[in-house]
């Protein structure tokens, strides 16, 4: 079995062309930078995050976060004095004092003699009033704010009634108002204080 030399030459030439092409291709692939390497089709959907389908009926563009306002004693105001609970407890251990206050739009806390019930506990009432007359609130709520100081109580020693409070009308409705620290009393644990509506 012999082949004609011309046929062998043709086959060799064809093989040489294919081999040359493969070599050139291999060299080109080898020189491709790493970042440009192909991802296998089956891996594409695992590696590439598919963005969500956009809607076209309308559009909502995210705006800035609306920061809440806090209704609390404004400690930045000048002359704010704390109430020393330990001192009150030492001097008047059985004190039972109720004060009904008004908070105006500027955050000032106002009350007069008729608003204070301190039968038998004048000294305690005076101590409490002296401190509270210096208190002022951030001007975000207004209305009636009532305090009940019950020093000997085994339950809550201070109850704050907020049911008479409302938002200051100039603050837009969409701005949330959060109730913060409604007193400035040193030495009274938070678990001894109840903030609610009515007592």
């Amino acid at each position: 079995m012999t082949k004609r030399p011309s046929q062998i030459l043709w086959a060799a030439a064809a093989l040489a062309v294919v081999l040359a092409f493969l070599i050139i291709r291999a060299v080109r692939l080898w020189r491709i930078p790493y970042e440009s390497l192909t991802i296998a089709p089956e891996d594409q959907y695992e590696r590439i995050e598919i963005p969500p389908r956009p809607g076209v009926r309308g559009l909502v563009i995210t705006g800035p976060r609306i920061m809440p306002l806090y209704f609390a004693v404004d400690l930045a105001r000048a002359g704010i004095q704390p109430l020393d609970w330990a001192d009150l407890k030492n001097r008047c251990p059985g004190a039972d004092v109720r004060i009904k206050c008004r908070v105006d739009e500027k955050g000032n806390l106002r009350f007069n003699k008729e608003d204070v019930r301190m039968e038998g506990f004048t000294e305690a009432g005076t101590i409490i009033q002296n401190a509270m007359r210096t208190w002022a609130y951030r001007p975000v709520k207004r209305g009636t704010l009532s305090f009940w100081f019950n020093v000997p109580s085994m339950g809550k020693k201070l109850k704050i009634d907020m049911q008479g409070m409302e938002r200051v009308p100039s603050i837009p409705e969409h701005v949330p108002i959060i109730d913060g620290q409604l007193h400035y009393i040193l030495g009274l644990p938070a678990q001894d204080i109840e903030v609610g509506s009515g007592f």
């Binding site: 079995m1 082949k3 004609r4 046929q7 062998i8 043709w10 086959a11 064809a14 062309v17 294919v18 092409f21 493969l22 291709r25 080109r28 692939l29 491709i32 970042e35 440009s36 390497l37 192909t38 991802i39 594409q44 590439i48 995050e49 598919i50 963005p51 969500p52 389908r53 956009p54 809607g55 076209v56 009926r57 309308g58 559009l59 909502v60 563009i61 995210t62 705006g63 800035p64 976060r65 609306i66 809440p68 969409h174 949330p176």
Partner: protein, 201 residues
């Protein structure tokens, strides 16, 4: 009886088939090498089709032409809100027109400025890996899609890949002729946001 001598056929290489096969291989390798040379980004971009619902985005890029784009982000909320407060006495149509005119006046960027704005967004994304940003790109039909691809590849080139994108066809006129544009307050999780809403229908 004399045995008949078997004739052995001479085996030849079939040149026609060989050449056919070589050409098929040649075409195959040409095609595959072209696919390999296609940029990775171009092949990896998955553009989902839009749906007929309310869309949400943090940043809107409306391509106007090859040189300008309309950019809206969270800062536009304050602009719209202030117009609503200041010109609340206008009719709904008058208010809409005033808002859109103001936005069109202030928020049409050249591509250089758009590049700066996008660079700012990328910087934010790079500073905060936990942050997620979504950019909606609207492009008119007559603008080559390569412009969108250019924006997407620029935005996607972040180490944490925390900028996502959506693409829809659309013109600036669709926005300028929208039915209504206004601010809405929405609670998302524990956050309350003042968003801009554009109603097209």
């Amino acid at each position: 009886m004399a045995f008949k001598k078997l004739k052995r056929h001479k085996e030849n290489v079939e040149l026609v088939s060989l050449i056919d096969m070589i050409f098929i291989l040649l075409v195959f390798f040409l095609v595959t090498s072209y696919v390999i040379r296609t940029p990775l980004e171009e092949r990896s971009l998955y553009i989902p089709t839009p749906e007929n619902t309310l869309g949400r985005t943090q940043i809107l890029i409306q391509i106007i032409d090859g040189e300008k784009a309309f950019w809206l982000d969270e800062t536009a909320s304050a602009v719209v809100s202030s117009i609503e407060e200041e010109f609340g006495y206008l009719s709904p149509e008058g208010l809409r027109t005033r808002i859109l005119n103001t936005l069109a006046e202030n928020n049409v960027y050249s591509f250089e400025r758009l590049q700066q704005a996008m660079q700012g967004l990328k910087s934010r994304a790079q500073r905060d890996p936990a942050a997620r940003f979504f950019v909606l790109i609207r492009c008119p039909d007559e603008v080559p899609y390569a412009s969108v691809l250019h924006l997407i590849t620029f935005l996607m080139d972040t180490p944490y890949r925390n900028i996502r994108y959506g693409c829809v066809a659309g013109r600036l006129n669709d926005i300028l002729q929208c039915k209504k544009i206004y601010t809405v307050t929405e609670d998302i999780g524990s956050r309350r946001l003042k968003n801009i809403r554009i109603d097209f229908q």
